[in-house]
Each structure stands twice: as structure tokens, then as C-alpha cells.
Symmetry: C2
Subunit: 246 residues, 2 copies
């Protein structure tokens, strides 16, 4: 496997423009890998524009693609939406946007794109994913925060890294809320999945992963969860290679 991944916690920090915090990192990643054309997977975006009255999911996808095209147009990166398995097999870069992870995974399995994308990325083309798109780079989508609005054929995903990402990792509940915290939920995950490492990837952070290196981007720590151990805070200065198994 040749691996060139940019796995981003979230598209948008509260109050900021779409993708603004991470746009420069994405452009630098594309330039490093000589990417001029990227294939975009919009299937997590079931309700882009927030106004679904009379709109179809295809309308939502179209809005989503335009939004991403607009972000990168001035940087000379052309973004095209996926239309077929052949698109994935010939892509020179794949970008997977966020939204509802269940819907994304449902569609990728239904359209036979999950295996096609995994194969193409393992051939070495760059992969960029934010939120749901970062989660599906993992073995499964079992660390999502999203609502299971549809039932995918399987929760297995691209398996490009040997650990799980929890995107939008969040330290505390809103004041007064008694439901499970994110840490509670991840501890439940570890009870049912004892051998899996979970990376709590806070908003405004990302991971850049190659075959033999892994780098934390952003100024916040990430939080590592493993069964039977206390969670650990890891900064961009720490060695992250244990996540790749060495």
C-alpha cells in the first residue's frame, strides 16, 4: 500500500467560512502531490443549504459540489463530482466531504464505490476527507457521531489506517445536559471493540498520513483512547507512529 491521506476533523469552525481554517493545508497537500483535478464524493451531504423543502438529494449534492468547487477554483484545483465507478478507478485525487456518515456509507456500498475507492487510494493517489470523509478512512464507521438515518449494507469502510477517528471530538456536554459525553461513548466503543485505538480528533485539527509517517496538523491536542488504559493527550510534537503500528 502507498498511502497519502489528509484526514480532517471538520470543515468549518463555528462562525468561520466553509473550509477556511484548513483550505491552505488542503491546497499545500494537493500541490505536494501535483493534483490538478480531484474527484469529489458528495453522498454525506443530504441536506446542504439547510432548506430541503421541495429539493431532492441530488439538488443537495449539486449545491455541495458547487460549494467545494468555489473554495478551490482560484487555486487551480478542479473539482468534479463522482458519477460512476470508472470515475473512481481513474481519479488522480479523491475528496470525501462531511455530512451524514450513514448516508455516505450506504451509498458507497450500494454503488460499489467503497472497494473501488479503497483500491485506488491504496495505489497511491491522494485522499482528502473531512468529518465523515475522515471517519471512513478507518476500518469502520463505528466511531461516528451521526444519526443512523439509513441502514448501510455494512459499517465497514475504506480501511486506509489501522485506527479509528472520532471526528469533531468534543470534551464536554452543553451546560445542564445529562446525556453521555463523547468520552462515555468512546469508552462504550472500547468495551465492544477491545483491540481498536480511537483518536479523538478535535475540531480545527487534521492528520496527514503516509506509509511511514503521521503528523497532527493544528494547534490543539488529540486524545487517544485504548481499552484498559487512561486516555492520553497527544500534541503535534509527540511521536505518533504507534498509531501506524510501530
Amino acid at each position: 500500500m502507498t498511502r497519502n491521506l489528509l484526514l480532517i476533523s471538520n470543515s468549518t469552525n463555528q462562525g468561520e467560512q466553509y473550509l477556511s481554517w484548513v483550505k491552505n493545508d488542503i491546497v499545500a497537500f494537493c500541490r505536494k502531490h501535483n493534483v490538478a483535478n480531484a474527484l469529489f464524493i458528495p453522498y454525506a451531504g443530504v441536506n446542504v443549504g439547510q432548506s430541503f423543502e421541495g429539493k431532492t438529494i441530488e439538488d443537495s449534492y449539486n449545491l455541495y459540489v458547487e460549494r467545494v468547487q468555489d473554495v478551490f477554483a482560484k487555486d487551480g484545483i478542479t473539482v468534479k463530482s463522482v458519477e460512476s465507478v470508472e470515475n473512481a478507478e481513474s481519479a488522480e485525487c479523491i475528496i470525501v466531504g462531511g455530512g451524514n456518515t450513514f448516508h455516505l456509507v450506504y451509498e458507497l456500498h450500494r454503488l460499489n464505490l467503497m472497494d473501488a475507492i479503497a483500491k485506488r487510494v491504496k495505489e497511491g493517489i491522494p485522499y482528502i476527507g473531512w468529518s465523515a470523509g475522515a471517519n471512513i478512512a478507518c476500518p469502520t464507521m463505528k466511531t461516528t457521531n451521526d444519526m443512523p438515518i439509513v441502514e448501510p449494507k455494512s459499517l465497514n469502510t475504506l480501511n486506509l489506517v489501522p485506527f479509528q477517528i472520532n471526528p469533531h471530538y468534543l470534551d464536554a456536554n452543553p451546560a445542564g445536559h445529562g446525556g453521555e459525553t463523547r468520552e462515555d461513548r468512546i469508552r462504550e466503543f472500547l468495551v465492544a471493540n477491545k483491540d481498536v485505538t480511537v483518536v479523538g480528533l478535535r475540531e480545527a485539527t487534521a492528520l496527514e498520513v503516509t506509509d511511514d509517517s503521521i503528523k497532527l496538523i493544528g494547534s490543539r491536542n488529540m486524545r487517544i483512547f485504548q481499552s484498559g488504559k487512561d486516555p492520553v493527550e497527544i500534541s503535534s510534537k509527540d511521536d505518533l507512529n504507534f498509531l501506524l503500528g510501530y
Copy 2:
């Protein structure tokens, strides 16, 4: 179908004792239906006690049952944990506790309890569920907030009411968090499930449902979501019968 349901958003308000806000309502519901013995389903409780080091899931279940037994012991309601399908078939009241809804549904399908419980409750025995236990009274678990730590055979659940509950309904994200709000997530659900009504059931509220009546318990409103309409706030003084289809 004869229907006697108490569907509770959450066990515990922040900073309060376990079940304290709703204990009197549960006891009154049991007295009204002459319940002295209840069968408890603990399978959502994968990490009760919050310290899973060296513990098994059975240890967690046992702690969970003891916790619930302790709450009702002084009120003359005996709580026993489920051990077999026969337990469900002969139960005089079924209580389903909260925790991880995916794990609960996984186990109920695996152990052939989903159909057995639905049948027994439709025969008229009282059903009490909080959080995950309220969610599975609905047609599906597709409005859960929980992490898909395991993959159930199906997301279909008990189908005791013709609408979906989102337990622990929450109005806002924590300050500074850019991820989807609960309302965003429910709107995504409605895109994929256009004919389904979703009840956002805030903490410290519950629904009491019979064949021909439905009552909101607690002092907070609930929030109703339907495709193509603006969400509506409903108080305990409003007529809720539209939720039952008339």
C-alpha cells in the same frame, strides 16, 4: 393492540441522583397497572460503573440491574433481569434501561427478544423505557444519538408507537462547537424518511401512551419535526393525538 407505555427521555438530569426526577412517575404508572414484578432489559448498559478495566459486559449488566432494583425496592416493585425469551413471554411489566442503543438492539435481535417483547407489550402489559428504552418503542432506532459500536442485524425495533422519539433532545451545541446540531441531524433524518414524524423529547420529560391517549409529562415542551414543515413546539396542554394518527 392494547398499549400502556411510559417513554422517558433520560434517566438522570445533570447533577441529580439516578432516576430521581422520574421515579415517582414510574411508581405511579406501576401502581395504576398493578405491577409488582418487572422484567428489566439491561443490554444497553455496556459500561455501567464507568470502570471497565477487567470487567465483562455481564458485570456491567449486573451492576445495572442492582442499580435499578435499589431505586424501586422501597416501593414494593421487584425488578428481575431478563434471562430468556420465556421471561419476556410471561412478564407482567417490561423495563428497558438506557445506554448504547446499538448494543441494546444488537442483543435483542440476536437473542430473539425483539419480537417476543413486542408481542407481549401488544398484549397489554405495561412497558417502561428510558433513553434507548424509549427509542426502541418506535418503529426503528434511526433517531438515536448513540455511537454504532456494534452492527445490529436490523435497525427495526418494537414499533409500539407510529412516530420516532429522539431522546435527550438538545437545542444547542456547546459554545464554539461547529458540528451538526441535533436539529440538523433530525432534518437529515427527514430527508431520508419523509413520512415519519420525529418527537424531540427533551431531558426531564416523558410520554405516557395508551391506545387512544398520549400525554406529555414534565414541565418542558417537546419539539415536533415533520418533513417540509417548520418544527413546532408542543406543551403538555396541547392535543397530542395527531401523533397517534388521529
